[in-house]
């Protein structure tokens, strides 16, 4: 029977995992091993993928992948008889190099350091809470979230404790130290090359069995480890008891219960790190792999001992195990040795020997043995659950329901935009009022001159136009933080997998896309968690179509100025259009540029956790700070540059001509040929013409007019064209540019909305018609968000070519869409 055939709510036992390569390795490491109980929990709304429970955690698999797993409802079927009749005798084991526990001087391994500076690496499964502990210990504000793969790169922080300086390195989450995914390789490389003094293995206490798999790999690697039993409160709440001291003795590694989000146990953890660091000798246990594997390990160790591999400062036992498992990276290194042929021939012989006797491939044999070792230890120390928290199951039955799942997701998005637009409108109006007052204060009290113009039109007009949207950004991030911290993000990926599958991607790609609503740069970096390069590249190209928070102020500006009554719907429509363009692009790229098959969808679904007020406020504060920093940096610089380009050159003759016209009008008024009201209108007209003439002849006007032939078919005037051009640096600069260019004719400081509403051509027709606004907003949505995003694409794709491709593709598409909207719309209206 296949796992895909298991009915919802039923349980069975795994008998065999078929297939090959990364998928098989990944699900083996995630606990899909022979004899393990697995339960089918529910189907996603479109019947695929399916959520399973295994080793007390939840994971989603597609039907096409679940077919690879063979199951039986009878537990006895899962335990096949092999020719491995147990362990070798102690003497035999000793001859093979196996010692249940042995000690050696840390200095020999290069891990011991007598100084008071301790280099600590934090390693653990995804979503085990490494970054929470890292932030608490080092005082950093790194991004945390309740889904796998939040940390995609290493981050360093320092702290002092009891006279010791700790240099903490937070590494990406990984299920094992295999060579299949970039993060696994990166973590292993960090341990072996950077050689941290002590490793903190962060283990989620709520899914001990699976989390301890990585610990067994660290044990094989013979590195000094302290285990942080994180989220220990969840273990206690489930009514379980864990005799961690006994388990700690079994694996000869200290264990400290911690609650990362509250900081409980962190001082004790650091004390243990110091204690381990100060040890002169480390005692390591060895995982017993069974008679047949141990014999092969012993043979391989003897083979390697005669080569330069013995000088690598990596335990020969570890190298032997990895070679027998078929680890590609270790194989690559061995192939560089002069004796490689002999070693590889021996390895192949041993693999065949193991397969013949164990009736399973060595990879499965080692994985099974590791899980067997963990299960044995936990059997004695971990009690059964007595309290079953049904909240996760209850919420999941709603949010992943076949009929309610999608509507609830879109209702959530609608509430997010409604709150961003409506709720944010009140503080926005207040900030807008303050900006106006500041502008009027300077206008009324400063002598006329270029500096006054720079302050009023350049700085207050430019930066002030952007700063008013701070509340909207904060509210948007509040919702994104809730989505990330609660665990709903992973569910969104789960329900969207089938849809993503149709466009050639999988649910995991949906997480960077949702993150893209916040900022495209971290979203592009988050594509690292996607195993397949082709899927990663496609996701990277479609992330910029996810409307980031920098584009939100542009939408809100125009929506509040021209369509205030249907703001949320227009916002939702823009975001939905971005998703549609992303989907079409993904399908197009999958069919043309990246035809490689997509990767399977194996994703852990974490339990729901109520985000703490502290974490939500930290998240919001960090974003607000970043936004304000942007105001003082690129936005301010951009506004000043645009003002300079718009203010210079000054033509004295033209100015004198306009001054002459005003004098003439005043003389007409003095002669009584026009009244006071007519004089005011006339002066206002002359000022308007003076401004227009000046801007047209300024440097920015010339740039705008140079661009105009390309942008005119879209209905855009030169000011819109220049705003879009300056927005290439960052989208907020679109607004600050408009703030500088649309100065208005009023003597009082007007809001930018008012100035845009009153903007008209010489013949009196408004510049911003509904078609122009629609085309403009779609152009802003589609063309690349900022230079930082392009640099991020270059960094992640390791190619300037792909980065430039993204620039041309998105800008070309934006032009085409805006062209169609304007031209087709003009024909119809």
């Amino acid at each position: 029977m296949r796992l895909s055939e298991l009915k919802t709510g039923h349980k069975a036992y795994i008998t065999k995992v078929n297939g090959s390569g990364p998928f098989r390795k990944r699900i083996l490491e995630m606990g899909f091993v022979r004899g393990e109980e697995v339960r089918s929990i529910l189907n996603a709304p479109l019947k695929d993928p399916i959520k399973y429970e295994i080793m007390e955690y939840e994971v989603s698999l597609r039907r096409s992948e679940a077919v690879m797993v063979e199951i039986s409802v009878l537990e006895s079927d899962a335990h096949v008889r092999t020719d491995d009749d147990g362990m070798l005798t102690e003497e035999e084991l000793s001859q093979n190099g196996y010692h249940p526990a042995y000690s050696h001087n840390g200095n020999n391994n290069g891990f011991h350091n007598p100084e008071k500076n301790i280099r600590v690496a934090m390693i653990g499964n995804p979503n085990a809470g490494k970054t929470s502990i890292f932030n608490l210990a080092s005082g950093a504000h790194e991004h945390v979230g309740n889904y796998s793969g939040v940390t995609v790169n290493s981050k360093e922080g320092t702290l002092t404790h009891n006279g010791y300086t700790f240099t903490l390195t937070d590494l990406p989450g990984t299920y094992s130290l295999s060579a299949y995914t970039p993060e696994e390789l990166f973590v292993r490389k960090h341990i072996l090359e950077e050689r941290p003094d002590v490793i903190i293995n962060v283990v989620s206490a709520s899914a001990l069995e699976r989390n301890l798999y990585l610990t067994t790999e660290l044990i094989d690697l013979e590195v000094p480890v302290v285990i942080a039993l994180n989220m220990y409160d969840e273990l206690e709440q489930s009514g379980r008891t864990f005799d961690h001291r006994t388990f700690s003795e079994l694996i000869n590694t200290p264990m400290v219960p911690t609650v990362g989000k509250r900081g409980e146990g962190v001082p004790q953890l650091l004390e243990e790190v110091i204690a381990v660091y100060r040890q002169k000798e480390y005692k390591y246990v060895q995982i017993p792999y069974g008679r047949v594997p141990e014999k092969s390990i012993g043979i391989m160790m003897r083979e390697l001992a005669e080569t330069t591999a013995a000088l690598w400062k990596i335990p020969l036992r570890y190298i032997s195990i990895k070679l027998l498992e078929g680890d590609k990276e270790v194989e690559r290194q061995i192939r560089q040795l002069p004796e490689q042929e002999k070693i590889m021939a021996r390895r192949d012989k041993e693999r065949t020997y193991m397969e013949k006797l164990l009736r399973e491939d060595p990879e499965s044999a080692f994985t099974n043995a590791r899980y067997g070792f963990i299960a044995g230890g936990l059997k004695e120390t971990l009690s059964e659950k007595t309290q079953f928290a049904d909240s996760t199951k209850l919420i999941d039955t709603l949010v992943t329901h076949k009929y309610l799942g999608f509507p609830l997701f879109f209702v959530f998005l609608w509430v997010m935009f409604e709150a961003t637009f409506r709720l944010g409108g009140y503080p926005m109006a207040a900030i807008d009022w303050m900006v106006e007052q500041l502008g009027n204060l300077v206008r009324g009290n400063m002598a006329e001159g270029p500096l006054k113009d720079l302050v009023v039109d350049g700085i207050i007009g430019g930066v002030g136009g952007v700063i008013v949207f701070l509340p909207n950004i904060v509210i948007l991030y509040l919702f994104i933080a809730f989505m990330e911290d609660s665990g709903y993000m992973a569910r969104a990926a789960f329900i969207m997998d089938k849809v993503m599958h149709r466009i050639g991607l999988h649910g995991k790609s949906f997480i960077p896309l949702i993150m893209g609503f916040g900022c495209n740069v971290p979203a592009i970096m988050a594509t690292r968690t996607i195993e397949s390069r082709s899927s990663r590249m496609i996701t990277m190209f479609i992330v910029p179509f996810m409307s980031c928070s920098a584009r939100l102020p542009v939408y809100i500006l125009f929506v509040s100025a021209f369509f205030p009554s249907s703001g949320s719907l227009i916002l939702l429509g823009l975001y939905a259009f971005g998703i549609l363009i992303a989907a079409l692009t993904a399908r197009l790229f999958r069919d043309t540029l990246f035809k490689e098959d997509e990767t399977p969808f194996v994703m852990e679904l974490p339990p729901y956790r109520m985000p703490t007020l502290k974490s939500v406020f930290t998240h919001m504060w960090d974003r607000s700070r970043q936004y304000l920093q942007k105001m003082g940096g690129p936005i301010l610089i951009g506004s000043i540059i645009i003002w300079f380009l718009g203010y210079f050159p000054h033509n004295k003759e033209r100015e004198a001509a306009f001054d002459g016209q005003i004098t003439q009008a005043e003389m007409q008024h003095a002669a009584g040929s026009i009244n006071e009201e007519e004089l005011e209108v006339k002066i206002s007209e002359i000022d308007h013409n003076r401004n227009t003439e000046h801007q047209v002849n300024s440097y920015i006007g010339r740039i705008g007019h140079f661009m105009e032939p390309v942008m005119r078919p879209l209905g855009f005037d030169w000011k819109i064209s220049v705003s879009l051009l300056s927005g290439m640096a960052a989208k907020e600069i679109v607004i600050s540019t408009m703030g500088v260019l649309y100065t208005g004719d009023s003597d009082d400081q007007q809001s930018l909305q008012e100035r845009l509403q009153s903007e008209s051509y010489a013949d009196g027709t408004p510049v911003f018609t509904p078609l122009v606004i629609a085309g403009f907003l779609l152009f802003v949505l589609i063309y690349f968000p900022c230079i930082a995003t392009i640099v991020a694409i270059k960094e992640e794709s390791h190619s300037w070519g792909w980065a430039l491709f993204s620039v041309f593709y998105s800008t070309g598409l934006a032009w085409l869409v805006a062209f169609l909207v304007f031209q087709v719309g003009s024909l119809l209206m």
Binding site: L185, F186, L451, R528, R533, I641, F644, E795
Partner: protein, 53 residues
């Protein structure tokens, strides 16, 4: 010279220097790749697949 114009020119020069510095950093300063610690393992599966078969 008008004091306001003088201050504006000074501001212009400062902003110009900042802009040129940013451009220089963008194009000519080698990044230390701290984000992934200089690891180029992402390319490994690609290389393997291209040489594997």
């Amino acid at each position: 010279m008008d004091l306001q114009l003088f201050i504006v020119i000074i501001i212009g020069i400062v902003v110009g220097i900042i802009l040129l510095r940013q451009i220089y950093h963008f194009f000519f300063i080698q990044k230390d790749h701290t984000r992934c610690g200089g690891c180029n393992m992402c390319d490994l599966p690609k290389k393997e697949s291209s040489t594997g078969s």
